[in-house]
């Protein structure tokens, strides 16, 4: 196991700055999620850490050692790819053993590790199958197993759940969380899905246009977003923004309530949409200032589009963004 550090790392493709002066530390054993929209530089950062892309500026450290010029196979990192990248002609057993054989471990040790990893992941019955004979979920677990069996210093995951259906994704997410806690391998996990980030990460690094916008625990990012981008990216639905006393304030749906004394406001508006989700109903409200507020109402809300509403904000839930 090892810590990981990006020190003012940058990467350019022609005129495009894919990663701009990224500084980020991942502690030993931590699960760090890099999250951001497409083109935010998160995958590029991960690939530089793996050694699959050259670093243009700055330094990347693994376990305190600068690895900019170290070949991928000598970095002791393992990666789970978005398309799994399983070797199609090899059985599950050979897929998992391949990396160990390349590292010249003795047969007994390879066999022990493959068996153990397969037991952990419930792959015992699939050992002699080839990837095309597996379902998507099974392929995903084999890809994870192939990475874990190596017992790498750092585990890298590039959107490993994006090819699974919604139900399987939720299952796989908790499985990854459990395994990572069990083995305690330092993990860098890339996703564009903020729900995945919030549920998986010990800490989350939010990236946008090659820049690191904020890094913190899921609670910190949700409660104390550093800027409008983070507030608008984290949370589902995201923060609503509206002008207030010459600044911009952000407020989460749970802090937007029907008007009563003690709240900030009142704010007049009209219902723009009603989304019944079962347990709660999201109501979008267009305010007189032009901003749209989203409020969450427990259970079903009997409201019509166009209906006037008077709302107030819970002051403790307000975030103020300057500039």
């Amino acid at each position: 196991m090892s810590s990981v550090a990006f020190r003012e790392v940058s990467k350019r493709y022609g005129t495009v700055e894919a990663v701009r002066s990224l500084t980020l530390e991942v502690a030993d054993g931590e699960l760090m999620v890099l999250v951001g929209p497409s083109g935010s530089g998160k995958t590029t950062a991960l690939r530089m850490l793996a050694g699959l892309e050259a670093v243009d500026g700055g330094a990347i450290e693994i376990g305190g050692r600068v690895v900019n010029a170290v070949a991928p196979r000598e970095r002791d990192v393992a990666m789970v790819f978005q398309d799994y990248a399983l070797y199609p002609q090899m059985t599950v057993r050979d897929n998992m053993a391949f990396g160990l054989r390349r590292r010249r471990l003795d047969r007994a040790e390879i066999s022990r590790r493959v068996t153990e990893t397969c037991r952990t992941l419930g792959l015992e019955d699939l050992l002699d199958r080839r990837p095309r004979e597996l379902s998507g979920g099974q392929q995903q677990r084999v890809a994870l197993g192939r990475a874990l069996v190596r017992e790498p210093s750092v585990l890298l995951m590039d959107e490993p759940l994006s090819n699974l259906d919604a139900q399987l994704r939720v299952q796989a997410r908790s499985e990854i969380r459990r395994l990572q806690h069990e083995v305690g391998t330092t993990t860098v996990y890339v996703t564009h899905d903020q729900v995945e980030a919030l549920t998986l990460g010990d800490r989350i690094a939010v990236m946008n246009e090659g820049r690191l916008e904020q890094v913190g625990t899921p609670e910190e990012l949700y409660d104390e977003p550093a800027n409008v981008f983070v507030g608008g990216f984290i949370g589902s639905p995201p923060m609503s923004f509206l002008p207030w006393d010459g600044a911009t304030i952000g407020v989460r749906p749970e802090h937007v309530r029907p008007w009563r004394d003690g709240l900030m406001g009142p704010i007049e508006g009209r219902v723009a949409y009603v989304e019944a989700l079962g347990r709660e109903t999201l109501v979008g409200v267009d305010t007189e200032s032009g901003a749209r507020l989203v409020t969450a109402v427990e259970g079903r809300a009997r409201m019509e589009v166009g209906e006037p509403l008077r709302l107030g904000l819970v002051e403790s839930g307000i975030r103020r963004f300057d500039g």
Binding site: P72, F81, Y87, R102
Partner: protein, 258 residues
């Protein structure tokens, strides 16, 4: 009804063209098989044992060299990024575009200067070169179709480029490689001009060249000529039949899928 009629029409047209193409082949086969003794006579008189041996030596060598070099070159062009890669690839393509007839005279003098005319090398080296141009083009298309992540997974798993090529990627390219082998085998086996120009020693004559000499000597005995033609064509047909499943798969995928 229309679909049915279209189907019948398509079959009639295809059948007509197939008959047109197969007619000469059928005629030769019927002529040759008219008297099985024809084959023994042709074999003896035409010295086909010698010619087939020469053809086998040349063809197997060319296929082996061209396949090995094409795999390596295709891997480099298809998977590696290096300075001048694209320009160099176009140089390789020149080998596909320039006909042998245009270079055969200078080639003859070059090979004569280094003392290689009238040796198997005069037949092997030029054809290996020409086939490598095609083979590189063909294998590059296959290597480009291999998902990048597969190569990267192998790198992270500790493979060198060499191991990645032979253990991870190439097993997926069997249809592409076998299709290339069939094509190069066919072209080399049937090659005539190079053998005509480069060798005068009868012991080095390849089968098509030997057949031409045989035809010159037996213009009147059609059955004997037909038997000689069948003898020369048989190895190509056999190779094709053995590898046809892969060949068709490789051709259909244009070597872009493993």
């Amino acid at each position: 009804m229309i679909a049915r009629r279209e189907q019948v029409l398509a079959h009639v047209v295809l059948g007509a063209f197939a008959a047109l193409a197969l007619w000469p082949v059928a005629k030769i086969l019927l002529l040759a098989l008219g008297d099985p003794g024809n084959f023994a006579t042709a074999w003896e008189d035409g010295h086909f044992a010698t010619y087939l041996r020469s053809s086998a030596i040349v063809t197997v060598s060319v296929v082996a060299i061209a396949t090995f070099v094409s795999i390596l070159a295709g891997y480099a062009f298809g998977q590696m990024r290096f300075r001048g890669g694209t320009a160099l690839f176009y140089v390789f393509l020149l080998g596909l575009m320039v006909p042998l007839e245009a270079t055969i005279v200078p080639l003859y003098y070059d090979l004569r200067d280094v003392g290689l005319t009238d040796t198997y090398w005069a037949l092997i080296l030029p054809q290996a070169g020409i086939s490598t141009a095609f083979g590189t083009f063909w294998m590059r298309a296959f290597f480009r179709s291999v998902p990048r992540s597969l190569v990267e997974a192998a790198r992270l798993d500790g493979s060198s480029s060499w191991v990645t090529l032979w253990r991870v990627i190439l097993p997926l390219g069997r249809p592409a490689v076998l299709t290339m082998v069939v094509l190069v085998f066919m072209w080399t086996w049937n090659e005539f001009l190079l053998a005509l120009v480069m060798v005068s020693d009868e012991g080095l004559r390849t089968a098509p060249l030997g057949l031409a000499f045989f035809q010159g000597r037996n213009t009147s005995d059609e059955a004997l000529l037909a038997a000689g033609s069948v003898i020369v064509a048989t190895p190509v047909v056999l190779v094709y039949l053995v590898l046809q499943r892969h060949f068709i798969r490789g051709m259909l995928s244009g070597a872009v899928k493993g």
